[in-house]
């Protein structure tokens, strides 16, 4: 009795210590990374750097085009992936009553989600840039990002469609509403939080994507308006980071970009939690 309880005590203390050590390492890594990037980037953080385009004439570097390209490409990709993804989820959940077809589609979506992004880049280059003749452009990049993020949007929308009580649908059908009206006025508004969650996840992934965009969106640092930018090649922040660090040896610039990316993902996380809290409050009200 006493021996086994001593043994158990030792076992328990060991496991506790081990898990504490793991946790400490994780926290330390995160802090190290964040602090390292800030320390490395702060000396080079100038207003000029983040508010201008690079100029060979004056021999200056600016990352504004890269920031704008990132915003443009995310905006364009979201604009395309939202209706496609939400539409597919609505079809699968609300319209299709052919379980076998649904299974096949869902299997495809799962597979799509697991493919490494560089393969999307390769195929995107062949299909969008070459076959469809879009050249290397932000539009080709946005299309590639759309396909990559389709599974995320479909799945999060489907999950939240499933949480809408059947009784809401019955109530609306019982009043004589047609299917599309039921979906538009009762079902979709009740799962707006799931769709927003999916969007935030997708935006995070798009912002961090580089491999697929190296192939499709290119490396240019020109500052353009939205429509011109869509038609021309342009580097997003992650791609620019790679180019500055690896090809031009400009590590200061690379670290500034890293810091900007970290700010952006922090902003996304904060937006996500504020939205989640607001939605939660609205639901409880």
């Amino acid at each position: 009795m006493s021996i086994s309880s001593t043994k158990r005590k030792i076992y328990k203390t060991t496991m506790l210590t081990l898990s504490n050590v793991c946790m400490a390492i994780t926290v330390a890594l995160v802090f190290f990374l964040v602090i390292y990037i800030f320390v490395k980037s702060i000396p080079y953080f100038t207003w000029e750097l983040v508010s201008t385009s690079p100029s060979y004439l004056n021999d200056t570097i600016g990352v504004l085009p890269d920031i704008m390209n990132t915003i443009y490409i995310i905006f364009a990709a979201l604009l395309m992936v939202l209706p496609m993804g939400v539409g597919t989820a609505i079809y699968l959940n609300e319209y299709s009553n052919r379980p076998r077809v649904e299974k096949v589609i869902e299997y495809c979506i799962e597979t799509l989600a697991g493919i490494p992004s560089i393969i999307y880049g390769l195929v995107g280059m062949l299909v969008f840039c070459q076959f469809m003749g879009l050249q290397t452009s932000l539009l080709a990049g946005a299309l590639t990002l759309m396909i990559m993020n389709l599974p995320t949007i479909i799945r999060t929308t489907q999950e939240s469609l499933k949480t809408v009580p059947q009784s809401y649908r019955e109530g609306a059908f019982g009043l004589g509403a047609a299917k599309w009206r039921v979906i538009r006025t009762v079902v979709l508004p009740s799962c707006i939080d799931g769709i927003v969650t999916g969007c935030i996840l997708a935006v995070g992934r798009m912002m961090g994507e580089s491999a697929a965009l190296l192939f499709t969106a290119g490396f240019a640092h020109n500052l353009n308006g939205f429509f011109d930018a869509m038609n021309s090649a342009g580097a997003t922040l992650t791609v620019a980071l790679y180019v500055y660090a690896k090809e031009q040896g400009q590590f200061e610039v690379a670290f500034v970009i890293a810091a900007i990316l970290m700010f952006m993902s922090l902003a996304i996380n904060i937006t996500a939690s504020v939205l989640a809290r607001r939605i939660q409050r609205r639901k409880e009200a």
Binding site: P165, Y168, E170, G171, F173, G174, L175, G176, A177, A285
Partner: protein, 263 residues
Amino acid sequence: MPTSENASAADTSANVFTVRKFNLWYGDHHALHNINMDIKEHSITALIGPSGCGKSTFIRNLNRMNDLIPGVKLEGSIKYNNEELVNSDIDVSKLRKEVGMVFQKPNPFPMSVYDNIAYGPRTHGVRNHAKLDALVSGSLKAAAIYEEVKDRMNSSALGLSGGQQQRLCIARALAVQPHVLLMDEPTSALDPISTGKIEELAMQLKEKYTIVIVTHNMQQALRISDYTAFFLLGDLIEFGPTEKIFSNPEDKRTEDYITGRFG
């Protein structure tokens, strides 16, 4: 079918629903067998029977709610006035506008009180604000809930109590100005006071509407209904005036059920 003939002989007022040799299958499961029933205008018809006997399945055919369930097969005839409902190509939206439904669990939409009531009229094309306002307050009054919600028309209907929610759902159904109201155990989730209010309401509403109500509560059927249909395992065992079913049932199984010997 002696039972249904008895019922129609007793009352010569018009049939709203005429059900003949009606059968329903869920896939291979034969859930309703050869049902015959006449549902009279401005009356309350109660459907009773132990749980799983097919009451909900039956009532959901009167506004074609079973269209939503895949794999349902129907045979026979249900006429709404003169329109065939079984396997026919009618305008289901129009049917459901005339044959409203209240469900077992109160199911207000996650919207304001006003928007809940206005949902049906808007669905059927009412856009005029004054007309909507009139329909909303009229329906809330008819469902005896106006006084309780008149100061909170714009707050969420989900904040109401269960009994209030169910009366709101009745108001929502009335707002499309139906002719028939189907209620599937509308009080089973409610406390006795709310139940009393809804029973009282049903008795008032039959002046203007025809009501079909599913209930597992024998007292309720006896209190409010004019006709009672007793279902057992997918068969309509007995159908007739409520006093007769409860005082002098023809079938031994009806007697056993209403005296509480099973179910």
